[in-house]
């Protein structure tokens, strides 16, 4: 007992002494300095300064802290409801589906998702594991979503769009934050930061949990624990080292209840109730060097891993029966591991007053272990070179050109150029014309799938010809109107996105009558057309705001090239499949009309009342059979009421009550079950209390 006590005393003495020295040191420095002559470090460097929206090359939506708060959302996928044209659906409470064009599966293969520039899009299934995302929601500073291809700026896989989650830096100052949530969700988080002359850091730890759809038919509760560390070491005014570490660990319910027939009320044999686990970790270190000219170079290394484990996955739906021990073999423990290492060098040069050039290169190693699904453990080494120039041709016109050249490590090299021209007709009215291209390398699952695999009922086989990357060309005309005296901005856009060599199912590829195997092939050609518009309006000294979005979309699919089975033994079946399922239903897989309205009103200085209204037309998912009904149209209203308490010395506290789907709009979820029983997004609420010190 005595020993541990003296340990604590020793530690506290060291801590006290360190703080004392720090304080004395700081005071000493400060007294010597003459404010008028003090040489200051360059802080707002070229890479920190965002292009104003009217000069940006791509259509971008920025979700800032105020919007995050007002929306009442507590997870990143939900925040995507604020992005015009983004479909946000849920397979179940743990499995969100996000898409900017046609709704696909839950793997978000066509979008790049980054956290602080680090891709969280993981190799094995080519997807993002949203529920085990290793960051805390409270640490998000803002999210930038590019609503179109953006390979030249955001790297590989920025196909339909990019979601870039930017977390708070370590310079948050001395202090911390604690918050708890109770109700439908149970969350807790604590964050502590310290700043000193050369080193800033922040540690955050938290827990998030909710009941999922909270529905009789789904076992989709979830709990995730997350811990993050971020530190920034800046020994002098020209170098800084930024370190980020994070880990998450969670439990995710799986399983569906039987909904029809004699087994009504029993759990489905092919999808037993069970708990799966998931974890994720990352380490990232970035060295930023500011040259005397003000140009910057940044070298970043990151290592990311994702792990999921499902203890009882049914691999043969016709056989699985938990009551029959002879079928035990058909329930397998399904383990997936993915890992990615990236080394990137990026240089930002302000060449002269009118040219800012960003260029660099990166190399990446992706590795996956998914023995049930993939042949051996594939490793893919890829590299990219990119360059982007912003050329201010005159005071009123800006030309952005760039490209990314990639070797995807699967035998292909591709180039993704882009050009856009922004012209200020008057300082308030700007027009943008752009043409952008990007490629999407096949996901590991599409390329390395094991013929013998029992997953998916053993129905897939290796592609007969090597898969090519998909290609997209996006053409758009946009308008941005800024009216500062009215506190209003208005933007609109018309676009056409053309996708060629689209990877579609290669139906009945073995050519036999029983059509036992499918594969993948680059046989599709798709076109997406749309009109988008956004209005932002502020009042009350910008303490209150309104953001409104509306999007109209259309999509068509045709077969760019015909697979040989199209005319073979199974011609009728294969043709019917493509006509009635893929092509026939494609138009229904985009939201023809969608939009959102977010209103936040400050009341009496310390109250904030906000309301979010989200609507979309019925939409069908592509991956399910024709007998699954489309999702119903959504018209959902969320509300939030918050009170802030300003305490002394800059401390504050806030209590907020959130209610989602206030009017209990009856819209159904993504994927199965809808034909049998409507799984609805039920009204749910919670209260959050937070304290900043």
């Amino acid at each position: 007992m005595a020993k541990s006590m003296s340990h604590i005393r020793l530690l506290s003495q060291i801590l006290f002494f360190t703080l004392l020295v720090q304080a004395a040191h700081a005071k000493e420095n400060v007294a010597d300095v003459d404010p008028f002559f003090q040489e200051m470090p360059i802080v707002l460097t070229a890479s920190r300064l965002a292009q104003p929206l009217s000069e940006a090359p791509s259509p971008m939506t920025v979700i800032d802290k105020n919007m995050i708060k007002a929306s009442g959302f507590r997870t990143v996928p939900e925040l995507m409801n604020l992005v015009p044209g983004m479909y946000v659906g849920y397979v179940d409470g743990n499995t969100p589906v996000l898409s900017l064009h046609n709704s696909t599966d839950q793997y978000s293969r066509q979008m790049q998702v980054l956290i602080d520039g680090r891709s969280v899009y993981m190799p094995p299934l080519g997807g993002v594991n949203w529920s085990s995302l290793p960051i805390l929601f409270e640490d998000i500073e803002r999210i930038e979503v590019v609503r179109g291809p953006s390979a030249a700026s955001h790297g590989t896989n920025s196909f339909y769009g990019v979601i870039n989650i930017i977390t708070r830096e370590a310079t948050g100052g001395n202090g911390g934050r604690v918050s708890v949530t109770g109700g439908y969700a149970t969350d807790a988080s604590a964050s502590l930061g310290r700043n000193s002359e050369q080193f800033d850091y922040r540690i955050t730890a938290g827990y998030r949990a909710d009941r999922g759809y909270s529905n009789d038919y789904l076992n989709d509760h979830n709990q995730t624990r997350v811990a993050n560390f971020r530190g920034n070491y800046h020994p002098n005014s020209s170098d800084s080292l930024d370190v980020q570490l994070g880990a998450s660990n969670g439990v995710y319910g799986k399983g569906i209840m039987q909904t029809i027939g004699h087994s009504l009320g029993q759990i489905r044999d092919d999808n037993l109730y069970r708990d799966a686990t998931g974890s994720s970790s990352f380490q990232q270190i970035a060295w930023l060097h500011i040259w005397p000219t003000g140009n910057e170079s940044k070298l970043t290394y990151s290592h990311t891993t994702v792990n999921t484990f499902d203890p009882r996955l049914c691999t043969n739906t016709s056989v699985c029966n938990p009551r029959d021990p002879t079928t035990a073999y058909s329930y397998v423990p399904y383990s997936v591991y993915g890992q990615r290492d990236v080394l990137e060098l990026q240089n930002t040069h302000q060449l002269n007053d009118s040219n800012r050039l960003v260029w660099g290169a990166s190399t990446e190693r992706a590795y996956a272990s998914n023995p049930q699904l993939l042949i051996s453990d594939p490793k893919v080494n890829s590299w990219q070179i990119f360059a982007h120039d912003e050329w201010r041709m005159s005071a009123n016109s800006i030309l952005n050109v760039g490209t990314m050249f990639e070797d995807n490590g699967m035998g292909y090299q591709s180039n993704a150029p882009r050009a856009s021209f922004n012209y200020h007709i008057t300082p308030q009215h700007t027009v943008r014309i752009g043409v952008t291209s990007a490629t999407r390398s096949p996901a590991m699952m599409e390329r390395y799938i094991d013929d013998r695999t029992a997953i998916f009922g053993g129905g897939y086989s290796q592609p007969t010809t090597p898969l090519l990357p998909e290609k997209i060309i996006s053409k758009e005309i946009g308008y941005i109107g800024e009216f500062p005296t009215l506190n209003m901005t208005l933007s609109a856009r018309v676009y056409i996105d053309q996708v060629s060599d689209m990877i579609l199912v290669d139906k009945c590829v073995d050519g036999t009558l029983d059509c036992s195997k499918d594969s993948w092939k680059n046989i599709g050609y798709a076109e997406f057309k749309g009109v988008e518009t956004t209005l932002k309006y502020f009042w009350d000294d910008k303490h209150s705001f309104l953001t409104a979005n509306y999007v109209y979309q259309r999509a068509t699919l045709s077969l760019g090239s015909l697979p040989s089975q199209y005319y073979g033994v199974l011609a009728a079946d294969v043709q019917a499949y493509y006509k009635n399922e893929n092509i026939g239903l494609f138009a229904e897989t985009v939201m023809s009309n969608s939009g959102s309205l977010l209103l936040s009103q400050r009341i009496a200085d310390s109250w904030q009342l906000s309301a979010g209204y989200y609507f979309r037309a019925p939409i069908r998912v592509l991956d399910v059979a024709t007998d699954v009904t489309p999702e119903k149209r959504m018209r959902r209203l969320d509300m939030r009421l918050a009170k802030t308490f300003k305490l002394e010395k800059g401390r504050s506290a806030e209590v907020a009550a959130i209610l989602q789907n206030v009017s209990q709009d009856e819209y159904t979820k993504y994927d199965t079950l809808n034909a049998e029983v409507n799984v609805l997004f039920t009204r749910r609420g919670w209260v959050t209390a937070s304290f900043n010190f």
């Binding site: 008028f36 003090q38 707002l44 310079t171």
Partner: protein, 288 residues
């Protein structure tokens, strides 16, 4: 102007006790400008004060502290108003006010307000941070009375949560005006302050070109050459009628802006020369 009518030329010592690029530039410009104007002054630069001189141009606070205890008439330059007044109070034997004067390094408050009016015409709420209530702050408060501006004040003491106070201040202000307070604005804190204010979309108005390079939107300041010009004029005046003008603010100034920061914050700036003219116009009209 005719040559000085004194029998012997006025011996002027430019006292520079600290080695510093700005002081050096001032001293050189002073000598060059005095010669160019044929003032007939006999100028020596020294780092130690000797009694064989008629007039001292004390460069910097340290030089002022050294010179103030002598009996020689002094013109203090490159020293803040607060620093100068402190030196006056600290002196062992009180001097006759007519024998000591200064050109302050600070810009007059009205000029800084004119800069804000010229560059950011829509802005009304000015945020300021300070560690203790100084004469600068009192003057600032007085200067905004009767104008469209209102001051949002935040007092901080060392060790307190700068970030939290700053967050609140940035929420309420439309521009952050730097005060010459080294406890608040120094290389360590400027990082956080600039990053925070940029994220809140609040531009900073600094007090020297160094701030503008760091990321402040702009600053109004006087160059060493401009200070030298003004000092020569005062010295020449003194040499002719033995009259030392009262302490004053710099009369000439320049403006500097960070074009990349302005563009990123969607602030449309006019040409520097146009802005200088605008500020001059406001000053000469006695307004701002």
């Amino acid at each position: 102007m005719p040559f000085a009518s004194q029998a012997a030329p006025l011996r002027v010592t430019v006292l520079v006790t600290e080695e510093n690029a700005v002081y050096r530039t001032f001293a050189e410009s002073f000598a060059v400008e005095a010669a160019r104007q044929n003032t007939g002054l006999k100028i020596t630069q020294a780092s130690v004060l000797t009694p064989e001189t008629d007039f001292v141009v004390a460069v910097g606070a340290k030089s002022v502290a050294v010179a103030v205890n002598s009996r020689i008439p002094i013109l203090a330059v490159l020293v803040s108003k607060a620093g100068f007044e402190k030196a006056l109070n600290d002196v062992a034997v009180q001097r006759d006010k007519k024998t000591i004067s200064a050109i302050y390094i600070d810009q007059p408050i009205k000029r800084q307000l004119s800069l804000i009016t010229a560059a950011l015409p829509e802005v009304k709420k000015i945020g300021v941070m300070f560690s203790s209530v100084s004469s600068d702050l009192v003057n600032l408060r007085k200067a905004v009375v009767g104008t469209k501006f209102s001051l949002i004040e935040s007092q901080l003491t060392l060790g307190e949560a700068l970030h939290r106070q700053l967050s609140w201040l940035l929420d309420e202000s439309e521009v952050l005006l730097v005060t010459p307070d080294a406890q608040i604005y120094n290389p360590t804190t400027l990082r956080n302050i600039l990053i925070d204010s940029y994220q809140h979309n609040v531009p900073m108005v600094g007090i020297s070109p160094s701030y503008v390079r760091a990321g402040a939107l702009g600053a109004v300041f006087t160059t060493p050459e401009q200070f030298a010009l003004q000092a020569v004029s005062i010295a020449r005046h003194f040499s002719q009628d033995a009259h030392l003008v009262a302490p004053q603010y710099p009369t000439q100034f320049e403006v500097m802006f960070n074009a990349q920061v302005a563009r990123s914050m969607n602030i449309r700036l006019k040409e520097n020369s146009e802005l200088v003219n605008k500020i001059n116009a406001i000053e000469s009209n006695g307004g701002g």
